[in-house]
């Protein structure tokens, strides 16, 4: 396989290159988390006709920095009756799992931290690793609310993995590959070649457009559930469970949960971008194409979906646990089966 990492091309395959490659996503993640936290505060404020943070720098733009400085200084409480090793480990597992997802995300045609050809599978596998941290945190806190939150989170994420896996299966069928770069390359050209519009091919795909649309919506809904965002934020639903699984966490450990949540938001947005919206491809053929612009397109597309998640959060009420299961098993799953069949037919017809 041809090497797609510009770092290797520049300084060769040595340990410095590996260090740079593994650190680049971390730098990106930190920068992104700050922007996303500010975005969450500001967008929620504007939706509610408020201003949001205003008194930290011009228009409050360095508010997230202040948050980080503050969280660093907070006392790190471990409850007396908690299971200490598990309690301390949980946030790190959660963060590590979401950071591991960044290993295969292709930011550009010239840069992907690890160009394995099982990218989609890896994302699916690592994405469900975070639950362990969540359950650990909920259980080890020795708090009834945390326990309920942790249990709910596991039930929720496990059930929503299945519709999400169906979607990813469909994409694997349509692209004939699990390699993320390959999937993106197949969607090159104009925006109608994206998988959300049925992928490249003849006019026959117009008949199948609704199915690919529904598939996209199913994945968006499932991704909301996987990142515990409203309307599926019951694991940390304030009005019922105080703060859910992270009720007992304070200081930096809470910040890790916080960071992991935002990192997860980006990962699912990146997956949506990759499998449905053409990854780093420019929507307009060769216009503003190329590897450098690729980063721009990829990040801005992903940010649109991060914005969508924030937007939904400040619009919708929260579902109940049994209704959540209903949506997953009785709505999303049958629909995804039907769409899977239809899109497989499309692949055969092509």
């Amino acid at each position: 396989m041809e090497e797609a990492n510009f770092v290797f091309n520049m300084i060769g395959e040595n340990w410095i290159a590996f260090a740079i490659i593994s650190l680049l996503p971390m730098i990106f993640l930190l920068a992104y988390a700050l922007i996303a936290i500010l975005g969450e505060l500001k967008i929620s404020a504007f939706i509610q006709e408020r201003l949001g943070p205003m008194r930290t720098g011009p228009w409050g733009i360095i508010q997230p920095v202040a948050e980080v400085v503050k969280l660093l200084q907070k006392e790190d409480i471990t409850p007396d009756s908690a299971n200490k090793p598990l309690f301390n480990l949980a946030p790190f597992i959660m963060f590590a799992a979401s950071y591991a997802g960044f290993a295969v995300i292709p930011f550009s045609s010239y840069f992907v931290p690890s160009g394995i050809n099982l990218g989609l599978f890896f994302l699916l596998a690592v994405g469900s690793l975070g639950i362990i941290g969540l359950l650990m945190g909920g259980w080890a806190s020795n708090n009834k609310y945390s326990l309920l939150g942790g249990l709910r989170a596991v039930a929720q994420i496990v059930s929503y993995e299945i519709p999400a896996a169906m979607v990813i299966l469909t994409i694997a069928v349509m692209a004939g590959s699990l390699d993320l770069q390959e999937i993106i390359r197949q969607q090159s050209g104009w925006f109608w070649n994206w998988f959300v519009f049925g992928g490249s091919g003849g006019w026959i795909k117009i008949i199948f457009l609704p199915f690919s649309f529904i598939m996209c919506i199913i994945y968006i809904i499932a991704s909301l559930a996987e990142t515990n965002r409203t309307p599926f934020d019951i694991p940390e639903g304030e009005s019922e469970l105080v703060a859910g699984y992270h009720t007992e966490y304070s200081g930096m450990k809470f910040a890790m949960f916080f960071f992991a949540e935002y990192a997860n938001m980006f990962i699912v947005s990146a997956i949506i971008t990759i499998i449905f919206f053409g990854g780093w491809n420019s929507p307009f053929g060769d216009f503003m194409g190329g590897p450098i612009w690729g980063v721009f397109w990829f990040v801005s597309k992903a940010f649109v979906f991060v914005f969508l998640q924030i937007w939904l959060r400040w619009t919708l009420p929260r579902l109940r646990v049994d209704q959540l299961m209903y949506v997953s098993w009785k709505v999303l799953l049958p629909f995804s089966f039907v769409c899977f069949l239809a899109l497989s037919l499309l692949v055969m017809l092509k």
Partner: protein, 383 residues
Amino acid sequence: MSEKKYIDIEFSQLDSERMRLFMGPQHPSTHGVLQLEVELDGEIVTDLIPHIGYLHRCFEKHAENMTYPQIIPYIDRLDYISSMNNELPYVMGLEKMLDIQVSEKVEYIRVIFSELNRIANHQIAIATFGLDSGAFTPFLYYFRDREMILTIFEKASGGRLLYNYFWVGGLAADVHPTFKEDITEAIRIIRDTNAEILNLLLKNKIFIDRTANVGILPADIAISYGVTGPILRASGIPLDLRKAEPYSIYERFDFDIPVGNGEVGTVGDCWDRNIVRFREMEESCKIIEQALKTFPSQGDVRENVPKRIRLPKGEIYCKAENPKGELGFYIISDGKDKPERVKVRAPSFVNLSALPEMSRGYMFADLVMILGSVDIVLGEVDR
């Protein structure tokens, strides 16, 4: 999705350990400092005991030690969301005892301000209910509108939340000159927002799923518990003291009593309670508009009342339709300038007693919604 029957059959066969969960008093969604001792079977509520008294502020003890006008600030603090409504039955009762007839203008202002405060109260009720269900944005839209009502009150009385405005024999002060225009403007914006909230929250499918068929209170049980106010009306009984026993000048106005009719679920569920409150806001707007049309601009706002108010020996029970139900004051006077006793019949307290009946057999997440739909104020429950 959430029929009560289904849960009963499914879980009564399984014998499992019950969990006791103490919810509150510092839980974010207990609407103040209420403690609920919940017995859970998995996620199903099997029993519920409300523990009150975390905000017991000794109202009756204070009433024994104060002169009649001095009690009014404490009455404000009973149901601190609808202070104007609280003051109304008390001053009406005293005026009846003293045989004082207040002027037309005072009656009009009292009605208009009571109805405005009713709107403000229902706004908070629906807003915090939305907050319980996870929708944060309607809360802020309603609070934005409520700010206008508070401004009108502040311009008239000087207080933003606790007014001390209805006095025995009149009002503390005359209304401000731009009073009519302000209220017309406020009503216009309240109606706009209400239309928005209807689409954003009340008609939302997720919201309907959360509230329809949840916390059903049948009419007969509601009556046997003595429940009043929007909760009783949501159960299908059109009892409103403004119509049933008109006080002040309510019989002059034309308005309807919205009742719950189970549009999306069963009669008397959480959704009905909210839609009744929602429609009452519109009725209040109608009353205010009619009152503004015939508002007498001339007139004195204060009758001649002796500086030391001494009630004749005797007792009186005076009541009015508060946003939360029937608020009554039972005043016993022994001829001095201080009452011998003032007993409060607080609607929230009575409505809260029906909570265990409403919430048995529903899920823990529903409990939060049911409590929110009862719309209690702890200041009034504990007094």
